[in-house]
């Protein structure tokens, strides 16, 4: 690919106008394993494991749920080549800063998942956030934390909190019980101690690391992924009704790739329950107020009706400018281009959703070194 001649940042700064909250770097085969502690490496990597796909996206056998133009020429997997991602996402699509969210392996043993998170963090720091690969200063990383093993999660947060390019803590949505359980309090305590946002991405694991629906498993990838949002809705209710934001008043949580239009009726439902049951509840405020003050949702996947003015109205009623962060989900097949997403937002919400909320949530700079021929989205 054509590369900027020298890997040194421009001395010209440009304003950050697009913060992309959901971007997926992928390790080259074997790259993470070398960072996994010996104790777990022999169990995790000593027998071959093929594809474990359940619930396959269209044409999975050919596209692996990826953008088909995102496969690097060297035969690697989409997201494995930092330079190709830089070209497609930053230069061509025009995301100014990308929040990198690696899919650290979810196992059924908390300590093994924690070992994978430890390794993934080392790998991300050394292969993406280092001065060679992040010469342009457009990558921001996630501290992967195995929330089901709170002690190790806290250790990872403590280890990486001071890193200049680690911008959030990344947990998975599936571990049980839900997040209102006090066993997770040490994780929220570490996050608020360092004032770092906690983001939650879905993980599509196996066995019970899938979101086991209470009434039976879906049949296909579409009824599976559509109903996956109920997992996030349930986590929202747990966080609020179980008082997590009362215990940690500065905690910020981002729900990544769980879709978001359901938050509008969920706020009404929680508020109605609060009105009916206040005397039996320990929380201090109306549930929708906790949503507006503590939660953010990423925009991808943007779901829309045939009449898109209905979406515009829903965005107004939910006060989208308070709760949304732009995201593309590069390099997945469901990629939302920032230019496409932008035109769906009400005018008054555009700056907040496209960059201001992101800058606040992740404590980002307001300008970055310019990149030659970068698409400026708006």
């Amino acid at each position: 690919m054509t590369q900027t001649k020298a890997r040194v940042p421009s001395t010209t700064e440009v304003p950050v106008r697009v913060v992309d909250s959901d971007v997926h770097p992928v390790a080259r085969p074997g790259a993470v394993a070398e960072y996994v502690p010996d104790k777990w490496r022999k169990f995790l990597f000593s027998h071959p494991v093929g594809d474990t796909i359940n619930y396959d996206a269209p044409d999975y056998a050919h596209a692996f749920a990826m953008r088909v133009d995102a496969f690097p020429e060297d035969g690697g997997f989409p997201g494995s080549d930092p330079d190709l991602m830089f070209k497609q996402l930053i230069v061509e699509a025009g995301s100014d800063i990308a929040i990198l969210e690696p899919s650290s392996k979810q196992t059924i043993i908390p300590e093994a998942t924690a070992a994978m998170a430890t390794a993934t963090n080392e790998w991300l720091a050394n292969h993406w956030l280092d001065s060679t690969n992040n010469w342009h200063q457009r990558w921001r990383g996630s501290i992967c934390a195995a929330i089901e093993d709170p002690r190790s999660a806290v250790a990872e947060i403590e280890k990486w909190a001071g890193h200049p390019y680690m911008s959030q803590i990344l947990i998975k949505a599936e571990p049980r019980p839900a997040w209102g359980d006090p066993q997770y309090d040490p994780v929220w305590a570490a996050a608020t101690k360092h004032d770092i946002t906690v983001s939650c991405h879905l993980s599509r694991g196996n066995y019970e690391t899938m979101p086991m629906p209470p009434v039976g498993f879906p049949s296909y990838n579409h009824d599976f992924m559509v109903t996956y949002s109920l997992l996030a809705a349930n986590q929202v209710m747990s966080l609020i009704f179980d008082g997590v934001f009362d215990r940690f008043p500065t905690l910020r949580v981002v729900l990544v790739e769980h879709a978001f239009t359901w938050i509008l009726p969920l706020m009404w439902r929680m508020d109605a329950i609060y009105a009916a049951r206040k005397s039996w509840m320990s929380i201090k405020r109306k549930p929708s107020e906790y949503v507006k003050d503590h939660l953010k949702f990423t925009t991808q996947p943007l779901d829309y009706p045939e009449d898109k003015t209905e979406l515009s109205r829903a965005l107004e009623w939910m006060e989208a400018e308070k709760i949304l962060l732009f995201s593309s989900d590069y390099p997945h097949w469901t990629f939302d281009d920032p230019k496409w997403l932008l035109k769906h937002l009400p005018e008054h919400a555009r700056e907040a959703v496209m960059f201001k909320n992101g800058i606040e949530t992740y404590k980002l700079p307001t300008t970055v070194p310019a990149v030659e021929s970068q698409t400026r989205v708006w």
Partner: protein
């Protein structure tokens, strides 16, 4: 005119309940109506619903009628029972007892009561027997099944039930079953810690069933099937339908038995009881009617009180901004059409 699409009824007590059971079931151990941890702290029922002689709420046709027919012209009864039990024969026997109780004690007592026949989807022969037995009764207007299940209702093992419902011309109401049955924890993250969280999530489980029924082509195969999600949460139909249309569309090649856009399968097939927890809340909500029209919900909602449960709904609580046409549909017109209830000419709410 007002049709209350959700009035919950019970047996008076266990002695009364067992009088409707035959052996070997009459001697079996059977859980009561109440749930343990998920029972509402402070009690499930309106305090006014307990009879003067200690009658179980919702167990006395005259007491219930004195309350419900104050505001309603017709009440659709839905017997609450004892949970999904591990022995499917026993579950069917419990349901059959409640059906007999409802028909003999309520429907035959007052023509304004209409009934929901409870059947067990885990015992199809038993379910088909109950439908066969009661579908000709002029006041039986619906079949009732639990929202709780171990397989989604789109799966083919349930298709004979949909076929029978369609043939009988009866809608199928899916309602949270009371009692301490077996089953999975009520949320995808396991057990919630509070009743309010349980209440908040439990009704949303219908989304799993509905999306699966669409993807499995149930409404394509049974074009006359009508399903009523009787615990409300119709508001969630809109975001989840947007999602199913947007995300689902490229997947339609995987399900050629359900070739249409998912939202095409909703009108005429899907209905919701609208309760006190449903609809936009907040001061000066002026968009209640606009919201109700999204995804065609205005043609799907059926007013339901959930009497004698504490989240009792009242027509007085409807948003003042709801247009008159929406009020009529919600309070009686949708239910009258769905259940084939004739209404006086010129009726309004």
């Amino acid at each position: 005119m007002l049709i209350d699409a959700s009035v919950h009824i019970f047996c008076r007590d266990n002695k009364d309940f067992r009088s409707f059971l035959r052996e070997p079931y009459a001697s079996r151990g059977i859980p009561d109506y109440e749930m343990d941890w998920y029972g509402a702290p402070g009690g499930e029922y309106l305090s006014s619903a307990h009879g003067p002689d200690g009658q179980y709420p919702g167990s006395d046709p005259d007491l219930v009628g004195a309350h419900v027919f104050e505001y309603a012209d017709i009440a659709i009864l839905h017997p609450m029972t004892r949970g999904t039990l591990p022995d499917r024969h026993l579950t069917t026997a419990v349901l059959a007892a409640h059906n007999e109780m409802m028909v003999t004690r309520w429907l035959d007592h007052d023509a304004r009561y209409r009934g929901t026949i409870r059947v067990n989807p885990e015992d199809l022969p038993g379910a088909l027997r109950e439908i066969e037995k009661y579908s000709g009764h002029p006041q039986v207007v619906q079949i009732g099944i639990p929202l709780q299940s171990r397989e989604l209702y789109g799966k083919p093992q349930f298709w004979p039930l949909w076929e029978a419902a369609e043939a009988a011309g009866l809608p199928v109401a899916v309602h949270i079953e009371s009692g301490q049955g077996i089953g999975y924890p009520p949320t995808p993250s396991g057990h919630p810690r509070t009743y309010e969280h349980y209440l908040g999530f439990m009704a949303l489980n219908y989304v799993y069933h509905l999306m699966n029924m669409i993807a499995e082509g149930v409404f394509e195969r049974f074009s006359g099937l009508k399903v009523v999600f009787a615990d409300g949460a119709a508001d969630f139909l809109t975001p989840f339908t947007w999602r199913m249309d947007t995300f689902g569309r490229p997947h339609l090649e995987q399900t050629p038995w359900a070739p249409r856009m998912p939202s095409d399968y909703l009108p005429g097939h899907v209905y919701f009881v609208q309760g006190s927890l449903d609809g936009p809340v907040g001061p000066d909500i002026d968009f209640a009617g606009e919201w109700l029209s999204f995804t065609g919900k205005d043609a799907m909602v059926l007013f339901g009180s959930s009497y004698p449960h504490f989240q009792n709904n009242s027509a007085d609580a409807l948003p003042s901004a709801l247009p008159a046409e929406h009020r009529d549909r919600l309070l009686w017109r949708n239910a009258a059409e769905l259940y084939g209830i004739s209404v006086p000419e010129g009726a309004n709410s």
